[in-house]
Point group: C2
Chain length 237, copies 2
Protein backbone atom coordinates (compact mmCIF):
# COMPACT_ATOMS: atom_id res chain seq x y z
CA UNK A 1 0.00 0.00 0.00
CA UNK A 2 1.49 3.38 -0.94
CA UNK A 3 2.03 6.04 1.72
CA UNK A 4 -0.50 8.85 1.73
CA UNK A 5 0.96 12.31 2.19
CA UNK A 6 -1.49 15.06 3.18
CA UNK A 7 -0.26 18.58 2.59
CA UNK A 8 -1.42 21.84 1.05
CA UNK A 9 -1.48 21.22 -2.70
CA UNK A 10 -0.23 24.58 -3.97
CA UNK A 11 3.00 25.03 -2.02
CA UNK A 12 6.22 23.18 -1.28
CA UNK A 13 6.08 24.27 2.35
CA UNK A 14 6.95 21.83 5.09
CA UNK A 15 5.54 18.99 3.02
CA UNK A 16 8.51 19.32 0.69
CA UNK A 17 10.89 17.88 3.28
CA UNK A 18 8.74 14.73 3.27
CA UNK A 19 8.38 14.66 -0.51
CA UNK A 20 12.17 14.81 -0.95
CA UNK A 21 12.67 11.85 1.41
CA UNK A 22 9.96 9.78 -0.30
CA UNK A 23 11.40 10.62 -3.73
CA UNK A 24 15.00 9.80 -2.76
CA UNK A 25 13.74 6.52 -1.31
CA UNK A 26 11.81 5.70 -4.45
CA UNK A 27 8.85 5.04 -2.18
CA UNK A 28 5.33 4.70 -3.55
CA UNK A 29 3.17 7.55 -2.25
CA UNK A 30 0.09 9.53 -3.09
CA UNK A 31 0.23 13.31 -2.64
CA UNK A 32 -3.41 13.20 -1.61
CA UNK A 33 -4.47 16.85 -1.72
CA UNK A 34 -3.05 17.23 -5.23
CA UNK A 35 -5.33 14.50 -6.55
CA UNK A 36 -8.84 15.21 -7.75
CA UNK A 37 -11.11 15.36 -4.68
CA UNK A 38 -8.05 15.34 -2.46
CA UNK A 39 -8.58 18.59 -0.58
CA UNK A 40 -11.92 17.52 0.96
CA UNK A 41 -10.22 14.24 1.92
CA UNK A 42 -7.46 16.17 3.69
CA UNK A 43 -9.92 18.46 5.47
CA UNK A 44 -11.87 15.42 6.61
CA UNK A 45 -8.73 13.82 8.02
CA UNK A 46 -7.78 17.04 9.82
CA UNK A 47 -11.21 17.32 11.41
CA UNK A 48 -11.62 13.65 12.27
CA UNK A 49 -12.24 13.68 16.03
CA UNK A 50 -12.14 9.89 16.11
CA UNK A 51 -8.43 9.69 15.26
CA UNK A 52 -6.19 8.23 17.97
CA UNK A 53 -3.40 10.65 16.99
CA UNK A 54 -5.08 13.81 15.68
CA UNK A 55 -2.64 16.14 13.90
CA UNK A 56 -2.41 19.79 14.82
CA UNK A 57 -1.51 20.68 11.23
CA UNK A 58 -0.20 19.19 7.97
CA UNK A 59 2.05 17.59 6.79
CA UNK A 60 0.46 14.30 7.76
CA UNK A 61 1.61 10.86 6.64
CA UNK A 62 -0.64 7.83 6.57
CA UNK A 63 1.26 4.58 6.59
CA UNK A 64 -1.11 1.67 6.92
CA UNK A 65 -2.99 2.36 10.14
CA UNK A 66 -0.52 4.96 11.40
CA UNK A 67 -1.37 8.64 11.12
CA UNK A 68 1.77 10.69 11.81
CA UNK A 69 2.20 14.46 11.86
CA UNK A 70 5.01 16.97 12.39
CA UNK A 71 7.62 17.11 9.63
CA UNK A 72 10.61 15.96 11.69
CA UNK A 73 8.54 13.19 13.27
CA UNK A 74 7.49 11.86 9.87
CA UNK A 75 11.15 11.81 8.82
CA UNK A 76 12.03 10.05 12.08
CA UNK A 77 9.57 7.35 11.01
CA UNK A 78 10.63 7.15 7.36
CA UNK A 79 14.39 7.28 7.94
CA UNK A 80 15.04 3.73 9.14
CA UNK A 81 12.45 2.28 6.75
CA UNK A 82 14.25 3.64 3.70
CA UNK A 83 17.86 3.55 4.76
CA UNK A 84 17.93 7.33 5.16
CA UNK A 85 19.55 7.25 8.62
CA UNK A 86 22.40 5.33 10.23
CA UNK A 87 21.45 2.03 11.84
CA UNK A 88 22.82 2.76 15.32
CA UNK A 89 20.85 4.82 17.85
CA UNK A 90 23.60 7.43 18.19
CA UNK A 91 23.49 8.10 14.44
CA UNK A 92 19.73 8.33 14.42
CA UNK A 93 19.75 10.86 17.23
CA UNK A 94 22.40 12.88 15.40
CA UNK A 95 20.31 12.89 12.22
CA UNK A 96 17.25 14.00 14.17
CA UNK A 97 19.23 16.71 15.94
CA UNK A 98 20.28 18.10 12.57
CA UNK A 99 16.71 17.91 11.29
CA UNK A 100 15.39 19.85 14.27
CA UNK A 101 18.06 22.50 13.76
CA UNK A 102 16.96 22.77 10.13
CA UNK A 103 13.36 23.05 11.35
CA UNK A 104 14.37 26.02 13.49
CA UNK A 105 15.96 27.65 10.46
CA UNK A 106 12.84 26.98 8.38
CA UNK A 107 10.67 28.71 10.95
CA UNK A 108 12.99 31.73 11.06
CA UNK A 109 13.08 31.90 7.27
CA UNK A 110 9.29 31.84 7.19
CA UNK A 111 8.98 34.50 9.82
CA UNK A 112 11.02 36.98 7.77
CA UNK A 113 7.87 37.77 5.80
CA UNK A 114 5.49 37.14 8.72
CA UNK A 115 7.24 38.45 11.81
CA UNK A 116 4.15 39.77 13.57
CA UNK A 117 1.63 37.01 12.92
CA UNK A 118 1.18 34.14 10.52
CA UNK A 119 -2.52 35.00 10.48
CA UNK A 120 -2.04 38.48 9.05
CA UNK A 121 -1.21 39.26 5.43
CA UNK A 122 2.32 40.16 4.40
CA UNK A 123 1.04 43.61 3.42
CA UNK A 124 -0.04 44.15 7.01
CA UNK A 125 3.49 43.59 8.33
CA UNK A 126 5.69 44.78 5.49
CA UNK A 127 7.64 47.27 7.54
CA UNK A 128 8.34 44.75 10.27
CA UNK A 129 9.22 42.15 7.63
CA UNK A 130 11.88 44.44 6.20
CA UNK A 131 13.49 44.82 9.60
CA UNK A 132 13.19 41.12 10.42
CA UNK A 133 14.65 40.03 7.08
CA UNK A 134 17.66 42.30 7.47
CA UNK A 135 18.38 40.71 10.83
CA UNK A 136 17.83 37.24 9.46
CA UNK A 137 20.16 37.74 6.51
CA UNK A 138 22.82 39.55 8.54
CA UNK A 139 23.02 37.34 11.58
CA UNK A 140 20.81 34.26 11.66
CA UNK A 141 21.27 32.78 8.17
CA UNK A 142 25.09 33.07 8.36
CA UNK A 143 25.05 31.45 11.79
CA UNK A 144 23.02 28.45 10.59
CA UNK A 145 24.83 28.11 7.27
CA UNK A 146 28.17 28.48 9.03
CA UNK A 147 27.21 25.60 11.29
CA UNK A 148 26.45 23.34 8.34
CA UNK A 149 29.54 24.57 6.48
CA UNK A 150 31.71 23.43 9.40
CA UNK A 151 30.03 20.02 9.43
CA UNK A 152 30.64 19.63 5.70
CA UNK A 153 34.20 20.86 6.07
CA UNK A 154 35.12 17.79 8.09
CA UNK A 155 37.33 15.16 6.53
CA UNK A 156 35.71 13.44 3.55
CA UNK A 157 32.30 14.83 4.44
CA UNK A 158 30.36 14.46 1.23
CA UNK A 159 27.21 14.34 3.33
CA UNK A 160 26.23 15.57 6.79
CA UNK A 161 26.65 12.15 8.40
CA UNK A 162 29.48 10.00 7.13
CA UNK A 163 29.58 8.94 3.51
CA UNK A 164 25.89 8.32 2.86
CA UNK A 165 22.82 10.41 2.33
CA UNK A 166 20.48 10.81 5.30
CA UNK A 167 17.21 12.73 5.52
CA UNK A 168 18.76 15.97 6.88
CA UNK A 169 20.90 16.13 3.72
CA UNK A 170 17.75 16.38 1.64
CA UNK A 171 16.36 19.05 3.95
CA UNK A 172 19.54 21.11 3.85
CA UNK A 173 19.35 21.01 0.06
CA UNK A 174 15.81 22.37 0.28
CA UNK A 175 17.04 25.22 2.49
CA UNK A 176 19.59 26.24 -0.14
CA UNK A 177 16.96 26.01 -2.86
CA UNK A 178 14.52 28.10 -0.86
CA UNK A 179 17.01 30.73 0.20
CA UNK A 180 18.25 31.07 -3.39
CA UNK A 181 14.69 31.60 -4.58
CA UNK A 182 13.70 34.02 -1.83
CA UNK A 183 16.89 36.04 -1.51
CA UNK A 184 18.90 35.78 -4.75
CA UNK A 185 21.06 38.80 -3.96
CA UNK A 186 21.78 37.91 -0.37
CA UNK A 187 22.46 34.32 -1.34
CA UNK A 188 25.15 35.35 -3.83
CA UNK A 189 27.14 36.65 -0.91
CA UNK A 190 26.21 33.79 1.41
CA UNK A 191 27.10 31.23 -1.27
CA UNK A 192 30.64 32.60 -1.54
CA UNK A 193 31.10 32.18 2.18
CA UNK A 194 29.59 28.70 2.32
CA UNK A 195 31.08 26.80 -0.62
CA UNK A 196 30.72 23.38 1.02
CA UNK A 197 27.03 23.92 1.65
CA UNK A 198 26.56 24.96 -1.98
CA UNK A 199 28.54 22.01 -3.33
CA UNK A 200 26.53 19.69 -1.09
CA UNK A 201 23.28 21.08 -2.50
CA UNK A 202 24.53 20.45 -6.05
CA UNK A 203 25.47 16.91 -5.05
CA UNK A 204 21.93 16.29 -3.79
CA UNK A 205 20.33 17.88 -6.87
CA UNK A 206 22.37 15.55 -9.09
CA UNK A 207 21.17 12.34 -7.44
CA UNK A 208 19.17 10.47 -10.07
CA UNK A 209 15.86 10.26 -8.21
CA UNK A 210 16.05 13.83 -6.92
CA UNK A 211 17.02 15.10 -10.36
CA UNK A 212 14.06 13.31 -11.92
CA UNK A 213 11.75 14.63 -9.21
CA UNK A 214 12.89 18.23 -9.60
CA UNK A 215 12.25 18.02 -13.36
CA UNK A 216 8.80 16.50 -12.87
CA UNK A 217 5.51 18.25 -12.24
CA UNK A 218 5.41 16.58 -8.84
CA UNK A 219 7.76 19.38 -7.76
CA UNK A 220 5.58 22.43 -7.14
CA UNK A 221 7.36 25.66 -8.14
CA UNK A 222 8.27 28.11 -5.39
CA UNK A 223 5.69 30.86 -4.98
CA UNK A 224 4.58 33.64 -2.66
CA UNK A 225 2.32 31.44 -0.53
CA UNK A 226 5.04 29.17 0.82
CA UNK A 227 7.82 29.36 3.37
CA UNK A 228 10.39 30.85 1.01
CA UNK A 229 8.93 33.86 -0.79
CA UNK A 230 10.63 36.19 -3.19
CA UNK A 231 9.70 39.73 -2.26
CA UNK A 232 12.41 41.83 -3.98
CA UNK A 233 11.99 44.60 -1.39
CA UNK A 234 13.12 42.20 1.34
CA UNK A 235 16.22 40.88 -0.42
CA UNK A 236 19.63 42.53 -0.03
CA UNK A 237 20.45 45.12 -2.71
CA UNK B 1 27.34 8.04 35.90
CA UNK B 2 24.83 10.89 36.19
CA UNK B 3 23.59 12.68 33.09
CA UNK B 4 25.13 16.07 32.43
CA UNK B 5 22.71 18.77 31.33
CA UNK B 6 24.23 21.87 29.74
CA UNK B 7 21.98 24.89 29.65
CA UNK B 8 22.05 28.59 30.47
CA UNK B 9 22.19 28.76 34.26
CA UNK B 10 19.93 31.76 34.87
CA UNK B 11 16.76 30.81 32.98
CA UNK B 12 14.28 27.96 32.73
CA UNK B 13 14.20 28.29 28.95
CA UNK B 14 14.21 25.21 26.78
CA UNK B 15 16.35 23.41 29.34
CA UNK B 16 13.33 23.28 31.65
CA UNK B 17 11.59 20.69 29.46
CA UNK B 18 14.60 18.43 30.02
CA UNK B 19 14.85 19.21 33.74
CA UNK B 20 11.18 18.29 34.25
CA UNK B 21 11.68 14.92 32.55
CA UNK B 22 14.83 14.16 34.55
CA UNK B 23 13.10 15.18 37.78
CA UNK B 24 9.96 13.12 37.12
CA UNK B 25 12.22 10.16 36.30
CA UNK B 26 14.18 10.62 39.51
CA UNK B 27 17.28 10.45 37.30
CA UNK B 28 20.69 11.49 38.61
CA UNK B 29 21.90 14.54 36.70
CA UNK B 30 24.22 17.49 37.05
CA UNK B 31 22.95 20.87 35.84
CA UNK B 32 26.48 21.69 34.74
CA UNK B 33 26.36 25.43 34.08
CA UNK B 34 24.78 26.04 37.49
CA UNK B 35 27.75 24.47 39.27
CA UNK B 36 30.83 26.45 40.18
CA UNK B 37 33.04 26.66 37.08
CA UNK B 38 30.22 25.26 35.00
CA UNK B 39 29.78 28.07 32.49
CA UNK B 40 33.34 27.79 31.09
CA UNK B 41 32.75 24.03 30.88
CA UNK B 42 29.60 24.62 28.83
CA UNK B 43 31.29 27.15 26.54
CA UNK B 44 34.12 24.68 25.99
CA UNK B 45 31.67 21.96 25.01
CA UNK B 46 29.84 24.31 22.64
CA UNK B 47 33.06 25.31 20.92
CA UNK B 48 34.61 21.83 20.80
CA UNK B 49 35.31 21.30 17.09
CA UNK B 50 36.37 17.72 17.77
CA UNK B 51 32.86 16.57 18.76
CA UNK B 52 31.25 13.99 16.47
CA UNK B 53 27.84 15.59 17.03
CA UNK B 54 28.43 19.31 17.63
CA UNK B 55 25.34 21.07 18.98
CA UNK B 56 24.03 24.23 17.35
CA UNK B 57 22.78 25.49 20.72
CA UNK B 58 21.90 24.35 24.25
CA UNK B 59 20.22 22.44 25.81
CA UNK B 60 22.76 19.64 25.46
CA UNK B 61 22.68 16.33 27.29
CA UNK B 62 25.74 14.20 27.89
CA UNK B 63 24.92 10.59 28.60
CA UNK B 64 28.08 8.52 28.78
CA UNK B 65 29.76 9.10 25.43
CA UNK B 66 26.65 10.51 23.75
CA UNK B 67 26.33 14.27 23.25
CA UNK B 68 22.74 15.08 22.26
CA UNK B 69 21.18 18.45 21.47
CA UNK B 70 17.76 19.83 20.54
CA UNK B 71 15.14 19.71 23.28
CA UNK B 72 12.72 17.31 21.60
CA UNK B 73 15.59 15.05 20.54
CA UNK B 74 16.88 14.81 24.11
CA UNK B 75 13.38 13.86 25.26
CA UNK B 76 13.18 11.30 22.45
CA UNK B 77 16.31 9.75 23.95
CA UNK B 78 15.25 9.97 27.61
CA UNK B 79 11.64 8.84 27.13
CA UNK B 80 12.15 5.08 26.68
CA UNK B 81 14.99 4.99 29.23
CA UNK B 82 12.77 6.33 31.99
CA UNK B 83 9.39 4.93 31.10
CA UNK B 84 8.17 8.35 29.95
CA UNK B 85 6.76 7.10 26.62
CA UNK B 86 4.69 4.11 25.54
CA UNK B 87 6.64 1.00 24.59
CA UNK B 88 5.23 0.58 21.07
CA UNK B 89 6.56 2.60 18.13
CA UNK B 90 3.15 4.12 17.36
CA UNK B 91 2.93 5.51 20.89
CA UNK B 92 6.44 6.89 20.75
CA UNK B 93 5.74 8.68 17.49
CA UNK B 94 2.55 10.11 18.96
CA UNK B 95 4.44 11.40 22.01
CA UNK B 96 7.07 12.98 19.78
CA UNK B 97 4.42 14.53 17.55
CA UNK B 98 2.89 16.18 20.62
CA UNK B 99 6.30 17.35 21.80
CA UNK B 100 7.06 18.97 18.45
CA UNK B 101 3.69 20.72 18.51
CA UNK B 102 4.54 22.03 21.98
CA UNK B 103 7.94 23.15 20.61
CA UNK B 104 6.12 25.18 17.95
CA UNK B 105 4.01 26.82 20.65
CA UNK B 106 7.13 27.56 22.72
CA UNK B 107 8.75 29.32 19.78
CA UNK B 108 5.63 31.40 19.14
CA UNK B 109 5.37 32.30 22.84
CA UNK B 110 9.00 33.40 22.82
CA UNK B 111 8.57 35.46 19.67
CA UNK B 112 5.80 37.55 21.25
CA UNK B 113 8.50 39.64 22.93
CA UNK B 114 11.06 39.20 20.13
CA UNK B 115 9.09 39.27 16.89
CA UNK B 116 11.70 41.08 14.80
CA UNK B 117 14.90 39.41 15.91
CA UNK B 118 16.13 37.36 18.84
CA UNK B 119 19.39 39.28 18.58
CA UNK B 120 17.83 42.68 19.28
CA UNK B 121 16.69 43.86 22.71
CA UNK B 122 13.02 43.83 23.64
CA UNK B 123 13.14 47.63 23.87
CA UNK B 124 14.13 47.76 20.20
CA UNK B 125 10.98 45.89 19.14
CA UNK B 126 8.45 46.90 21.77
CA UNK B 127 5.89 48.20 19.31
CA UNK B 128 6.08 45.10 17.16
CA UNK B 129 5.95 42.94 20.30
CA UNK B 130 2.65 44.54 21.33
CA UNK B 131 1.11 43.71 17.97
CA UNK B 132 2.56 40.20 17.90
CA UNK B 133 1.39 39.43 21.44
CA UNK B 134 -2.16 40.55 20.69
CA UNK B 135 -2.25 38.17 17.73
CA UNK B 136 -0.70 35.37 19.76
CA UNK B 137 -3.17 35.72 22.62
CA UNK B 138 -6.19 36.20 20.35
CA UNK B 139 -5.62 33.46 17.82
CA UNK B 140 -2.57 31.25 18.29
CA UNK B 141 -2.66 30.45 22.02
CA UNK B 142 -6.38 29.51 21.88
CA UNK B 143 -5.74 27.31 18.84
CA UNK B 144 -2.94 25.39 20.56
CA UNK B 145 -4.66 25.18 23.94
CA UNK B 146 -7.90 24.16 22.24
CA UNK B 147 -6.04 21.30 20.58
CA UNK B 148 -4.71 20.02 23.90
CA UNK B 149 -8.10 20.60 25.56
CA UNK B 150 -9.73 18.29 23.00
CA UNK B 151 -7.08 15.62 23.60
CA UNK B 152 -7.65 15.81 27.35
CA UNK B 153 -11.40 15.80 26.85
CA UNK B 154 -11.29 12.27 25.54
CA UNK B 155 -12.63 9.45 27.65
CA UNK B 156 -10.66 8.94 30.86
CA UNK B 157 -7.82 11.10 29.60
CA UNK B 158 -5.96 11.99 32.76
CA UNK B 159 -2.86 12.41 30.64
CA UNK B 160 -2.19 13.16 26.97
CA UNK B 161 -1.49 9.53 26.09
CA UNK B 162 -3.57 6.93 27.85
CA UNK B 163 -3.48 6.63 31.62
CA UNK B 164 0.21 7.30 32.26
CA UNK B 165 2.50 10.29 32.27
CA UNK B 166 4.69 10.79 29.20
CA UNK B 167 7.22 13.53 28.51
CA UNK B 168 4.80 15.81 26.58
CA UNK B 169 2.61 15.93 29.71
CA UNK B 170 5.48 17.55 31.58
CA UNK B 171 6.06 19.99 28.74
CA UNK B 172 2.39 20.95 28.54
CA UNK B 173 2.49 21.68 32.27
CA UNK B 174 5.45 23.98 31.65
CA UNK B 175 3.48 25.83 28.96
CA UNK B 176 0.65 26.51 31.40
CA UNK B 177 3.14 27.65 34.05
CA UNK B 178 4.89 29.93 31.59
CA UNK B 179 1.75 31.42 30.11
CA UNK B 180 0.36 32.06 33.59
CA UNK B 181 3.55 33.89 34.54
CA UNK B 182 3.83 35.90 31.33
CA UNK B 183 0.20 36.75 30.71
CA UNK B 184 -1.74 36.51 34.00
CA UNK B 185 -4.69 38.51 32.70
CA UNK B 186 -4.99 36.76 29.37
CA UNK B 187 -4.58 33.39 31.07
CA UNK B 188 -7.53 34.04 33.37
CA UNK B 189 -9.73 34.05 30.31
CA UNK B 190 -7.89 31.21 28.58
CA UNK B 191 -8.04 29.09 31.74
CA UNK B 192 -11.84 29.34 31.84
CA UNK B 193 -12.03 28.06 28.29
CA UNK B 194 -9.52 25.26 28.82
CA UNK B 195 -10.45 23.64 32.12
CA UNK B 196 -9.02 20.22 31.20
CA UNK B 197 -5.63 21.73 30.35
CA UNK B 198 -5.62 23.57 33.68
CA UNK B 199 -6.66 20.48 35.67
CA UNK B 200 -3.97 18.49 33.87
CA UNK B 201 -1.35 21.05 34.88
CA UNK B 202 -2.46 20.79 38.51
CA UNK B 203 -2.24 17.02 38.27
CA UNK B 204 1.36 17.27 37.05
CA UNK B 205 2.29 19.85 39.70
CA UNK B 206 0.99 17.49 42.39
CA UNK B 207 3.17 14.55 41.38
CA UNK B 208 5.56 13.94 44.29
CA UNK B 209 8.83 14.39 42.40
CA UNK B 210 7.60 17.40 40.42
CA UNK B 211 6.18 18.97 43.56
CA UNK B 212 9.51 18.51 45.37
CA UNK B 213 11.38 19.90 42.38
CA UNK B 214 9.18 22.99 42.06
CA UNK B 215 9.73 23.74 45.76
CA UNK B 216 13.50 23.28 45.49
CA UNK B 217 16.11 25.78 44.43
CA UNK B 218 16.83 23.58 41.42
CA UNK B 219 13.77 25.26 39.87
CA UNK B 220 14.95 28.63 38.59
CA UNK B 221 12.23 31.31 39.00
CA UNK B 222 10.70 32.76 35.83
CA UNK B 223 12.34 36.01 34.82
CA UNK B 224 12.62 38.47 31.95
CA UNK B 225 15.50 36.69 30.24
CA UNK B 226 13.65 33.49 29.45
CA UNK B 227 11.02 32.32 27.00
CA UNK B 228 8.05 33.39 29.08
CA UNK B 229 8.47 37.00 30.20
CA UNK B 230 6.06 39.12 32.13
CA UNK B 231 5.90 42.51 30.48
CA UNK B 232 2.63 43.98 31.83
CA UNK B 233 2.27 46.18 28.73
CA UNK B 234 2.01 43.05 26.57
CA UNK B 235 -0.60 41.22 28.65
CA UNK B 236 -4.34 41.65 28.04
CA UNK B 237 -5.97 44.35 30.18
Amino acid sequence: MPYELYYWPSIQGRGEFIRLALEEAGAAYVDVARESGGMPKMMKLMQDRGLATPPYAPPILKSGKLVIAQTANILLYLGPRHDLVPKAEAGRLWAHQLQLTIADLVKEAHDTHHPVASGLYYDEQKKEAKKATEQFLDTRAPKYLGYFERLLDRKNARFLIGGRVTYPDLSLFQIVEGMTYAFPNAMKKLARRHPKVMAHAERIAARPRIKAYLASDRRIPFNEDGIFRHYPELDAR
